[in-house]
């Protein structure tokens, strides 16, 4: 496509009307908050057209143009609404500046074929916009929680002080509460005591079973697989109900061991699935070669097989860990007050609306899950590389 000359974009009949609309949109938003929707719309439209015309005609460098527009609107925002207005100004300026170049340089049709009709281009960009909105829907709720956790007030929403970026509107008090409140600390301690124990059980037993399952000629393979996967299939509330009934019959209800057993059972399917997936690509001739050179099965396992499937085992373990660390339904029923975990404490907090400390905990958990996601992704890549190395 680069070989063709880019079709010229009509500034007057195409770029300026669209920019007028965009400016009017922002103007309307700013106007309504000040009680002047109509005037705001009109002023916004004029600003949009003027900006687009100036940038498209006199500032050929995209980067300079966008920076200039951003700074300009930030200053306007500062004059109109103080510190809070700066952020609004930055956003509006960046969007308008970027849009001007996106439209006027013709890059809005760069990802469509050169022969695409205007309708197709319009649809293509609308589709991208829709996808952007859905991504926003996916991410925004999680991102909203983070700044709110620094709220200086005990509110679940943004205070005026936060919006104007007044430092007094922010504080670490919810984090301090989390680290000093005995309830939360006990919950954290319980979670840290339960999750690793459950993970250890599911990983050790699960890895052995996965190796067994990946052998050729396993009798009743499908039935065994169905039983081992079932904790993932059965809805949690049913598992919780069954475990509550059964564990109280055998005296495990309300004990640490009971919760660990229950969580280990829930984590097993994840270990089985990830480890068997790793073993699918495992080259059997390696173990045979090791045996041929005189290694006994245990040595073969630890020296040859284990290093190769380790990435799968670790990511299965992470899945099992997060299952236990995140689990609330089963522990609600199988555990007693002595086994109150972090999610349980959050659950009660959310139900009774105690304090925004929940948001601080939520932020910490999001950070942890980002770390775990990174680890799993790195391990997956490494496992694929290792398997790529082995012949066959």
């Amino acid at each position: 496509m680069r070989k063709f000359k880019k079709p010229a974009v009509d500034l007057i009949r195409f770029v300026l009307p669209i920019m007028a609309l965009a400016g009017a949109g922002f103007g309307f938003l700013v106007g309504t908050t000040n009680g002047l929707p109509l005037a705001g719309t009109a002023i916004g439209a004029v600003c949009g057209v003027a900006l687009a015309w100036v940038l498209a005609t006199y500032v050929p460098s995209k980067r300079t143009g966008i920076a200039a527009a951003t700074v300009l609107f930030a200053i306007v925002g500062l004059l109109l609404a103080g510190t809070g207005g700066v952020v609004g100004g930055l956003v509006v300026g960046f969007v308008l500046g970027w849009m001007t170049y996106w439209l006027s340089t013709g890059s809005y049709r760069a990802s469509t074929p050169i022969y695409a009709t205007p309708g197709q281009v319009l649809w293509h960009n609308t589709f991208k916009f829709i996808c952007g909105a859905i991504f926003f829907f996916l991410i925004a709720p999680i991102l909203t929680v983070m700044p709110l956790s620094f709220n200086a007030e005990n509110f679940f929403t943004f205070t005026p002080a936060m919006l104007s970026f007044d430092p007094s509107g922010y504080s670490l008090k919810h984090y301090r509460d989390f680290f000093t409140n005995p309830d939360w600390q006990q919950a954290l301690k319980n979670s840290v005591r339960i999750a690793p124990a459950a993970t250890l059980i599911s990983v050790s037993l699960g890895t052995l079973a996965a190796i067994g399952l990946s052998q050729p000629h396993v009798p009743f393979r499908r039935a065994i697989m169905a039983i081992l996967i079932s904790p993932m299939i059965v809805p949690l509330i049913i598992s919780a109900a069954g475990m509550y009934f059964f564990y109280s019959r055998i005296g495990l209800q309300g004990t640490y061991i009971g919760v660990v057993l229950a969580h280990a059972a829930l984590g097993i399917p994840f270990v089985i699935i990830t480890v068997t997936a790793t073993l699918v690509g495992f080259d059997k001739s390696l173990t045979r070669a090791a045996a041929n050179m005189g290694a006994n099965p245990v040595t073969t396992f630890f020296k040859v097989q284990m290093p190769l499937i380790l990435p799968g085992v670790i990511s299965g373990g992470l899945f099992a860990f997060i299952t236990s660390f995140d689990e609330v339904v089963v522990v609600l029923f199988v555990g007693s007050a002595g086994q109150k975990t972090l999610p349980w404490q959050m659950f009660t907090g959310l139900r009774e609306q105690i304090s925004p400390t929940i948001l601080a905990v939520a932020t910490i958990l999001v950070v942890i899950s980002i770390l775990l996601l990174t680890v799993v992704e790195v391990l997956r890549r490494r496992s694929e590389r290792l398997r790529g190395m082995s012949p066959g």
């Binding site: 679940f156 079973a209 067994g212 396993v218 109900a241 475990m243 059964f246 029923f333 999610p343």
Partner: protein
């Protein structure tokens, strides 16, 4: 291999140690199988004990109903001869009341009559208070008249040691069946209290049963008894006809007039068998009444509504997941790998984030003093007085659960769409199809397996959801799982919880069977 061993000219092929190759291969195969099973066995055992057994226990509890026949065993047997007869029957005979008298006298000591009361109260209201009241009143019945009359007749009847001697002699059970049976209850009561049988004065119900036995048994039967205290028995047999008798029926009706009510007896009879479909009937808004299976009264029909709502809302959530997930999966599968991997992180991050974090985020966003309402008010679109109610109703549940389950739709869709070759689309376009025709007739049909897989996954996950509906569902947005939790922890009607859970489990397993047919359970991917 088989041809070689079967070839007639060479005879059976031998392995190095001289055994036929076929046989040594079989041994090797068996050893291999055993080794595989040995590796699997610990985990299988673990899952069987920690997970499958609890599920089986739940299934068992949904039909188990031993409490009636364990608490009032004699009454259950005595009621066999009584027929409810559509409510026209008179109250049962004196024998039934006598059986109930003994049963409850024992149950009262072990406090099991209250548990029986709460069990039967699920079926007929008033049973719980009836049994509690009876438990309190049963010790004060006029049957002490029998005790006095026996003691007056022969003071030895007041001696516990004499009673023990009589009741422990062989053959007494044939002569005095009801007394012997009641004595067993008395023995259990005394032993539980750590008392000595020979020192405890028997209670009135023993004397009452003795009176009934002596009245009913022919004189020859009594005289045929030759064990200890036979003279006392013969003497008493001659005197009982002159005793002042007490109607047990009148005594029970005196405690609570409901004991004369055929409805109460019908309920006990209807639930007397050790296994009952009663809980299952309750979970579909029916009830087992003495007259047979009936509909619950209209104001108590909630389970079909809840099942219906769970299904309906899961459908809506599934639909919105398709609507939102399809464009994303399409975009991801048509972008260069580097870009799509970056964007995939945006899908995986919510997938990895704690469920409670996401639910609390929606609580923050949707509540009346929350972020979305604040923005709307700030923009002037909504007045400060009439903020939108977006949480604690169906809307809140649907939005939050769509967000939570969306990755489960996107990931299977993406993996299917990645395999659709774009050449088909190009071919269709070059043959003159419009964009819409190309999508609808060529691309979409190839992506249907992905939609199927994602939809079933989302549907299965959502019908069993508990946490999110509990936190953001209010009263109109709760699912059947919330009701199960309620019955386990609040109303303590475990049998009903188990029956509801069994039905839910059956639905989920059916859907998984379908999923297995469409996608194959082995293809479950974790992103």
């Amino acid at each position: 291999m088989t041809e070689a061993t079967n070839s007639p000219s060479a005879g059976p092929m031998l392995s190095a140690d001289g055994t036929p190759l076929k046989k040594s291969l079989q041994i090797a195969l068996r050893r291999q199988k055993l080794r595989a099973l040995a590796l699997i066995a610990p985990l299988l055992l673990f899952v069987l004990i920690s997970f499958i057994a609890p599920i089986a226990d739940m299934l068992f509890r949904s039909v188990e109903n031993e409490i009636v026949s364990e608490t009032v065993p004699r009454t259950v047997i005595a009621l066999n001869d009584w027929d409810y007869d559509g409510g026209n029957a008179a109250a049962p005979s004196e024998d039934v009341y006598a059986a109930l008298y003994v049963d409850l006298s024992e149950a009262k000591e072990f406090k099991t009559h209250t548990r029986l009361g709460s069990r039967l109260n699920y079926e007929t209201t008033g049973m719980s208070s009836l049994l509690r009241k009876t438990g309190r009143g049963i010790g004060r019945m006029d049957t002490n008249g029998y005790t006095k009359q026996f003691k007056t007749l022969d003071p030895k009847w007041a001696d516990p040691a004499v009673w023990v001697a009589i009741m422990e002699s062989p053959g007494v059970a044939d002569v005095l069946p009801e007394t012997a049976s009641a004595w067993k209850s008395w023995q259990r009561i005394v032993v539980t209290k750590n008392d000595v049988l020979a020192e405890e004065q028997p209670e009135d119900f023993i004397y009452t049963m003795l009176y009934r036995d002596l009245i009913k048994q022919p004189a020859t039967a009594i005289t045929s008894y030759t064990g200890p205290g036979s003279d006392m028995l013969t003497k008493a047999d001659g005197a009982v006809d002159g005793f002042e008798s007490v109607s047990l029926q009148a005594q029970f009706v005196g405690i609570d007039k409901n004991w004369g009510n055929a409805e109460i007896w019908g309920t006990i009879k209807a639930f007397s068998s050790p296994y009952s479909a009663g809980y299952f009937l309750s979970s579909v808004d029916l009830q087992l009444t003495p007259a047979g299976v009936e509909k619950q009264p209209a104001n108590q029909q909630i389970y079909m509504l809840l099942f219906g709502r769970t299904m309906f809302m899961s459908m809506v959530i599934m639909g919105s997941c398709i609507l939102l997930g399809y464009p994303i999966a399409y975009l991801l599968s048509n972008l260069p790998l580097r870009t799509s991997n970056l964007l995939l992180i945006l899908v995986l991050l919510p997938f990895w984030t704690s469920l409670l974090v996401r639910t609390s985020a929606w609580k923050v966003l949707l509540q009346q003093q929350g972020v979305i309402n604040d923005i709307l008010v700030w923009l002037g679109l909504v007045g400060n007085g009439d903020r939108l109610v977006m949480i604690n109703n169906q809307f809140g549940t649907i939005v939050a659960m769509t967000h939570i389950l969306l990755p489960f739709m996107i990931l299977p869709l993406y993996s299917v769409m990645k395999t659709i070759p774009l050449t088909y689309v190009r071919a269709a376009k070059s043959l003159g199809a419009t964009d819409w025709t190309t999508f609808w007739r060529v691309y979409f049909p190839q992506s249907v397996p992905g939609i199927g897989a994602g939809s079933i996954l989302v549907f299965i996950l959502s019908i069993g959801y508990y946490i999110t509906p509990e936190l953001v569902g209010g009263t109109t947005g709760t699912f059947i799982s919330n009701r199960i939790a309620y019955h386990i922890s609040s109303s303590l009607n475990w049998g009903l919880a188990a029956a509801l859970g069994t039905i839910l489990l059956a639905v989920v397993l059916l859907l998984y069977w379908v999923y297995d047919r469409i996608v194959g359970i082995d293809n479950v991917s974790l992103g």
